[in-house]
Structure formats: structure tokens, C-alpha cells
Amino acid sequence: MKKLINETANVVKESLAGVGAAHADLVRIDFDSRLVIRADAPKKGKVGIISGGGSGHEPMHGGFVGMGMLDAACAGDVFTSPTPDQMEAATKAVNGGVGVLHIVKNYTGDILNFEMGAELCQAEGIEVVSVVIDDDVAVQDSLYTAGRRGVGTTVIAEKICGASAERGDDLQTVADWCRKVNANGRSMGMALTSCTVPAAGKPTFELGENEMEIGIGIHGEPGRTRMEMKSAKEIVTLMAEAIISDLPFSSGDQVIALVNGMGGTPLIELYLVYNELNQICEAKGMTIARRLVGNYITSLDMAGCSITLVKADAEMLSLWDAPVNTPGLRWGV
């Protein structure tokens, strides 16, 4: 394993220190609870929004803290959910008196820890609503399983909810936006290489020189199928079909698209992927009204990409366009 790190045990802490030093105008770091907190939190009268999860998905979530998006992010160890006391500390730090939304990705660890964190906050009289993001079509959904993973739609949900909270919507409305984005969002990912967890020191899985893994999550969990390497056109078609048929998206739909790199794939390839995706959407009569192309929800140094589509109405698009100022996403200001 070769990485630009010091002690593996300190990776998250030192990276957070870098975020804090680089973006002191936007955020502050609580090192005890490993939180990235919006510099001007708590905002009295504004719904607070927190999210969090294992580290290793940067810029998510710490890079999305700031005006118009999250109020705080809880950083767990690499690929390990943060703990309930972190969620409690974050909730308190951003509580403006009108309740706090927890945006939780659907992983057992995240669910359980956020659940306990919310219980702690509610016991102290803070109103908390939790919304779970579960958008990964690679995973079969069922009442009897852990359900779908939360992946790329999380980024879109954080932006939309942040804008909703920023304009003064109440907790139920902000939470409803989160549910609406999740209900209209679908994602799928694939890997060309495994990531390497610093503390593990070796790749989580091995892929042959001509193999790829389709339906991968963001934690180096193996995907649903391993197959022979294909062209970008074939890969994107495969992923887009799975996504589009699942919601289903249909002709005339306006969508927000995210072509996301897993951390080790360069932008030249991601734009090529976007080109394929755009052609597929056009052929189906769908319009990509807004888009992000880049590394937004990564899996350490994994090479690969994921695609997310969220069906959007005019109001959702206007919330998308609202100003945002975070380390990882900025416009309108």
C-alpha cells in the first residue's frame, strides 16, 4: 500500500485538520467528536441538517458543509459509521431551535448509530427527523433484507435540503424534500480496481487485468457481478438501463445527473462517460437539466464510476440552482 499518509490511525484526523485549515472561512472542526461544522452554526431559526458516515468518500460529507448545504458532518473511521455520541454532538452544534434533519445512508452501521444518536438527542428535547437514502439499484430491495445502499443520491439530497432549509422551510418540509429526492433518485456503480483501506494495508479485493466489478458500493464491498472488461459505451448502457428501468424514468423527464468518480478515475474518463450517458438520455427523450461530473462520493483510491439520476420538477431545480458555498460545491456566491 502506497498512500500519502502518516500513521494509518491518524488519517481521518489529519485530513480533517487539512479541511479545517483550508476552509476556515466556511467550516470549523471539532476534533473531539470528529465533526466538520459550518462556521456560523448554529443558525437561529434555521432547520439544521447533519449527515455523516465512514470516511473515505471525500468530499462527502465534510466537503458539503457550508451555506446552502449541510450544517455539520460526522466523520467515522475509514468506511466505518460514526458513533451515536458524534451524531449527538453534531445535532447540538447545529440546532437552531427548529429541529434537525439527519440524512442517513442505508447501511446497517449508519442506521443503527444514527438511530441511537437520534434517541440521545430526542431524550434531551431536540426535535430530530431522520431520512434514509437508499438509491442503489444494484442491490435487490426487500422487506427482509438490509435493503438498498445509499450512494450518489445523497449528494443531490444534501444540496436540495440545504437550499430548502436556507430559504426558511420548516423541518417537515426539509425532510419531505429529502424523501422526495430519494424517491426519485437511482444510482449504480462499478469498479475497475479495488480500493485499499489504510488500516488494512492491502486491496479489499482483487480484479484481474481484464475484469471489472459491476454494482459495487462505496466501501469496496464486492458488487453483484464480476465480468469481462467492456467499452465505456457498453458499461454506461448497462448501468443507465438498470437505473432508468428501475424508477422508471420516462420520455419527457427532466433529471439531475451525477457522473461520479470513485477516487482513482481521472476526469477525462468521467466526461467521456457523461457523453455516453447524455446520448442515452437523449435517445430516451429525457433531458439532463443539471449535472455534476467529478469526484463527489468516492471510495478511497478505487478506479471506477457511478451514475445517479434524480427526476426533478421545476421547484427541485430551483432549489438545485440556489447558492451554495462549501469546500466541495460552490455556485451563486
Partner: protein, 208 residues
């Protein structure tokens, strides 16, 4: 009888056991999860041992509660809240006691398992720690009913945990990260069931 100090000794031994098995448990997790189970437990039990040394809780129940709270705030992942809940319920189940008899041991594990089931909503054969804990507790209860002493009872529990753990290999995972794999989760031993087996094995080696 199991005293406060026996509980502390057990937890300290667990720290060593999980440190020694850190890579093994992580490798199991790499196959069907995210390659961190051993790392998580090692971090958690190191924190626990430190916390116990600092706070020196006076009795069985408070030791178990310290273990619970420390695991909850240091492990993260799925196993943190689950093992944390296990110890928390165990702590409640023995509140006020100074020593634990064989029946008390079964009772605290049963309370702990109930907590795990409530929090994690797993069922038997979902390929989780529940598949090691449930048969173990059943076997201990059985042994107790048959008049076994503490040591004998624990040994029965460990044997059942071991076969429960091995029994996870052919199962298709329905809970936790392994469930994302569907059919591909078959053929691998569940890391959480393995750490649960080690939990009981360590107790059986220490207590009598």
C-alpha cells in the same frame, strides 16, 4: 461464580483475542463486507480496557455498562451499536448483583441477545452474529437444565457457537453489508458470528 474481577479479566482477554484476530476477522469481512470488522473490534476493546483502567467501575453491572458505552462510542459500524446494546442489556440484567451464578450468566447473555435482535432486526439464518449467539445461549440453557456447572455449561455454549458460526458459511446473507452480495455471500463465514464465538470462547477459558 463470576465476580466483577472475572468480568474485567474477560474483557481484558477479549482485547487481546481481538487484537490477535484483527487480521483474520478483517479478512473474513473483506470477503463479504468492507474489510474492517477486526479493526473495529480492536479499536473498541482497546478503548474499553483504557476506560476500565481509568474509571475502575465498582461492580459487575457497572463494568458491563462501561464496556457498552465505550463500544458504542468507539466502534461505529454495525457491530458497535449491536455489541454495545448486548453489553448494555447484560448490565441491566444483573443490576445490583455482586457475583453471577451460571443461571445469571445465561440470563445476561439472553438479555443481550434480545437487545441485539431488537436493534438489528435480524432473524436466525440471516448470516449474522445472531447465528452464533442464539444456539450458544440455547445450549447453555439446556446444559443448565441438565444440571451442568458453570464450566460445563460454557463449554456447551462455545461448541454450539462454533457450529453456529460455521453454519453461517452456506447461508445467503439477509442483513448487514453481506446482504448486498445476494448469492455471492454464500460460501463465506460471517465475521460477526466469528467474533461472537470468540467472545464466548474467551469467557469459557477464563471462568469456572
Amino acid at each position: 461464580m463470576v465476580s466483577r474481577d472475572d468480568i474485567v479479566a474477560w474483557v481484558e482477554a477479549l482485547q487481546k483475542v481481538y487484537a490477535e484476530n484483527k487480521e483474520y476477522l478483517t479478512d473474513l469481512d473483506a470477503k463479504i463486507g468492507d474489510a474492517d470488522h477486526g479493526i473495529n473490534l480492536d479499536r473498541g476493546y482497546s478503548a474499553v480496557v483504557k476506560k476500565l483502567a481509568e474509571t475502575n467501575p465498582p461492580d459487575v453491572s457497572s463494568v458491563l455498562k462501561t464496556v457498552a458505552m465505550t463500544l458504542i462510542s468507539s466502534v461505529g459500524g454495525a457491530s458497535g451499536p449491536l455489541y454495545g446494546t448486548l453489553f448494555l442489556r447484560a448490565s441491566t440484567a444483573c443490576a445490583g448483583k455482586t457475583e453471577l451464578a451460571a443461571a445469571d450468566i445465561v440470563a445476561i447473555f439472553q438479555a443481550g441477545l434480545d437487545g441485539v435482535l431488537q436493534r438489528g432486526k435480524a432473524q436466525l439464518e440471516d448470516k449474522t452474529m445472531v447465528d452464533a449467539l442464539t444456539p450458544a445461549i440455547n445450549a447453555m440453557q439446556q446444559a443448565l437444565n441438565n444440571g451442568a456447572d458453570l464450566k460445563e455449561m460454557l463449554q456447551q455454549g462455545v461448541m454450539a457457537a462454533e457450529s453456529g458460526m460455521k453454519g453461517t458459511i452456506p447461508l445467503l446473507a439477509k442483513k448487514g453489508r453481506a446482504s448486498y452480495l445476494g448469492e455471492r455471500s454464500i460460501g463465506h463465514q460471517d465475521p460477526g458470528a466469528t467474533s461472537s464465538y470468540l467472545l464466548l470462547k474467551t469467557a469459557a477459558e477464563l471462568w469456572s
